[in-house]
């Protein structure tokens, strides 16, 4: 994998127009913010025989807009044989993550947009706000899956891809239609409610099985609670948070 194409993006699709649309969606730029070069026109073929995908190269123009310029690293000056700056160090994680996630979704046959944001809602205390890639579009429930299994797989694979290219571990977060943020908030409310119930009934409350990071949210939500403490019981897929009155 190379970092050569940080300044431009090659996209292939059935038609030139489709490829341009997909590329613009990935870059989150408008048509007038990029230079478009058609590398292959693509062929329709006969009954799919001899069909060839169209390939276009999109190169963001140096001054896209004030808003975009804020989010993206400034364009690099032309390389003047200056060995001092190694390309991987200057490649922004955001661009790499967006490119890989865009490729994964495309090969999964999913049409969607990727929005990059930081999500202070998702962190506890003074942890650094992570980079979140939020996938938006229609009918994306399949991207979440049972117990958010698919979403977690997508995030795990993307982290491997991005970290490999960047040369260091990159804990980027993948979200679908802000599912994680909504889930985070509802888990915190659930924790409060169940803690009240545990105290009122003087009995422990066992929550449904959850993946590790969701259990963590419950544990953290109640860690300073005056009247209950929490513990996870069970193993693997069946591990459940238990809220116990003190």
């Amino acid at each position: 994998m190379s970092n050569q194409n940080v300044k431009s993006l090659d996209v292939s699709a059935k038609t030139v127009d489709e490829a341009i649309e997909q590329g613009l969606a990935q870059l989150q730029l408008r048509r007038d913010q990029v230079d478009i070069e058609v590398i292959k026109e693509g062929k329709r073929g006969v009954f799919g025989i001899g069909a060839e995908d169209a390939v276009v190269r999109l190169t963001p123009r140096s001054r896209p807009s004030a808003e975009q310029a804020e989010q993206k690293a400034p364009p690099q000056p032309p390389a003047d044989n200056q060995p001092a700056e190694a390309p991987p160090a200057t490649t922004p994680v955001e661009e790499v993550a967006r490119r890989h996630l865009g490729a994964l979704l495309r090969y999964m046959g999913i049409k969607a947009e990727i929005k990059v944001k930081s999500a202070p809602e998702l962190v506890e205390g003074n942890e650094e706000a992570p980079l979140v890639l939020d996938i938006t579009g229609r009918d994306l429930g399949i991207l979440i899956g049972r117990q958010s299994q698919t979403l977690r797989a997508l995030q795990y694979i993307l982290r491997l891809m991005v970290s490999k290219e960047m040369g260091s571990w990159q804990p980027v977060i993948v979200d679908v239609e802000s599912y994680r943020i909504r889930r985070h908030q509802s888990l915190r409310r659930l924790a409060e409610r169940m803690a009240e119930r545990a105290v009122a009934n003087k009995r422990r409350v066992v929550l449904e099985a959850m993946p590790a990071y969701e259990r963590r949210i419950i544990h953290l939500a109640l860690k300073d609670h005056p009247a209950v403490y929490t513990k996870s019981v069970g193993s693997d897929e069946n591990r459940k948070v238990t809220i116990i009155p003190k």
Partner: protein
């Protein structure tokens, strides 16, 4: 329509140390697609991952993608 073979290649190449040695063969049946993935011997551990985590994540994404077209998929690492 997704491209399961390309999806497998992309994921596998990003995990291994020898991306050029990654091979994927796709065998498509009526309702079942079999993907045979091979990597350099020294990359076997990386492609499977601790407790099969990498391989399982790849399977989950392949399954999701195939299910959209009403198909099942079987990823075999050989």
């Amino acid at each position: 329509m997704g491209d399961l073979k390309e999806l497998t290649l992309q994921m596998a190449r990003a995990v291994v140390n020898n991306p050029d040695a990654v091979r994927v063969e796709e065998v498509e049946g009526a309702s079942m697609i079999v993907l045979e993935l091979s990597v350099a011997p020294e990359d076997m551990g990386r492609i499977i991952g601790k407790d099969g985590r990498v391989a399982n994540a790849m399977r989950t994404l392949l399954r999701t993608s195939a299910a959209k077209d009403g198909k099942r998929v079987n990823l075999e690492i050989i």
